[in-house]
């Protein structure tokens, strides 16, 4: 049993290394926030793609940022919410590191914020299995992947006034 384990572990690692995409990602529990909620290091090796980020921003099943925010030139979105501030000029107001922190876990920047934590997998009260109303098991898949966060951050950085 233990011999197998010793033998299998390196093998499994090799398989993972081979199967994994080229980009390395920082797992949610390993993300380092500074005291004000910023994240200095990108969460993924692949640079954020602003065009992809713009899609995630409106997509109901992933970012759904438009549920709470508005951006003036997003006339493609059928409805835009106003729970949070307009994101016009967000790229002027915040650095990339700050935006990464806000998108990954806004409560580190704005304590008690209503904005959901997009890159968090546990510590919930009655976590559910997506929108089924049934119990989910932690760790839950984060609301956005590391790459989606980098993409959204890249998109937000383009919002200049």
């Amino acid at each position: 049993m233990s011999r197998h384990a010793v033998f299998l572990a390196p093998a499994a690692l090799m398989v993972m290394a081979l199967a994994a995409p080229l980009a390395a990602e920082t797992a949610p529990q390993d993300v380092v926030f500074d005291d004000f909620g910023s994240i200095a290091e990108p969460l993924s090796d692949t640079a954020g793609n602003a065009e992809q980020g713009a899609v995630v921003y409106v997509d109901r099943s992933t970012g759904n940022c438009v549920a709470c925010h508005a951006i003036a030139d997003r006339t493609d979105a059928d409805f835009q919410g106003n729970i949070g501030p307009s994101l016009d000029g967000a790229g002027d107001r915040w650095t990339t590191e700050q935006l990464r922190g806000i998108v990954a876990d806004a409560k580190r920047t704005f304590p008690e914020s209503m904005m959901p934590s997009m890159y968090k997998t546990s510590g919930y009260i009655r976590p559910g299995d997506a929108f089924t109303g049934k119990a989910g098991t932690e760790p839950l898949p984060p609301l956005l992947t590391a790459q989606q966060i980098e993409d959204v951050v890249a998109y937000l950085a383009t919002l200049k006034e």
Binding site: F36, D78, I83, E112, S117, I125, G128, A130
Partner: protein, 288 residues
Amino acid sequence: MTTPFRMAAAAAMACALSLPALAETAPENTDPIVINAGELELPTAVPPPAHLDGAVPEIYSGWLFRDAATQVMQTDDFQNPGMIFVDQGITEWNTVEGAAEKSCASCHEDISVAMKGLRATTPKVNKDGVLWSVEDYVNDCRVNRMEAEALDWNGDRMKNLTAAISMQSRGMPVDVAIDGPAQPFWEQGKEMYYTRYGQLELSCSNCHEDHYGDWIRADHLSQGQTNGFPVYRLKDAGLVSQHNRFRGCVRDTRAETFAIGSDEFRALELYVASRGNGLPVEGVSVRH
């Protein structure tokens, strides 16, 4: 409530950011619901009950946050699509069923007398110290007095009956007891109201206290009052019970929801009702 924290965070982040204040937005007008060309006027905005302790400046009917086409349906009982279910509920009231060969009317007689005021004061603690919703009273009589089977809480027959019972209190101010034996249930419901459930970590208060009047995508947020229940919901083309509404709102936070008819939802029902103490029972309201 969270403003000092927000201010501190904003200051720490430096920059003169214009963070939104907790952005509750009062409705544009607070006209009463005028039903059947003036037969009945239901106020839509009244002073909040003392226990809310200034959390909101006024309490508002959900009707104010709906579009004009939906609003108008509630102003005429012939146009209100919920009224057909009230009629079916009254038929139910008069139908003999069960081994005791009785109908509700056999004992209670005229629904308009027997059930007047009940909806305005429920849920309430029964004589055994248990918190009961209208549905519990109905099923108690069915099982123990009619010797018939209990009705499904969320089934059509139960909703028709609760709609008919609600109608008998239309216009009467909600006035649920929150003290005495009701207090522990009320405290439990209050705790739930402010708990941030699910992966989205949202509490009832996040949406219905801090942000009523705002838009969450295409949805215009109300205060989440229950004085209009059961409501006729256009989206469902049918009546919706309070617990079903709660279940949907909790599910939408990506949480494990509570069951319809659970003790938790009874407690929440009491607390939410108490936030509407003073608003009139709307009988069967129309929402989308």
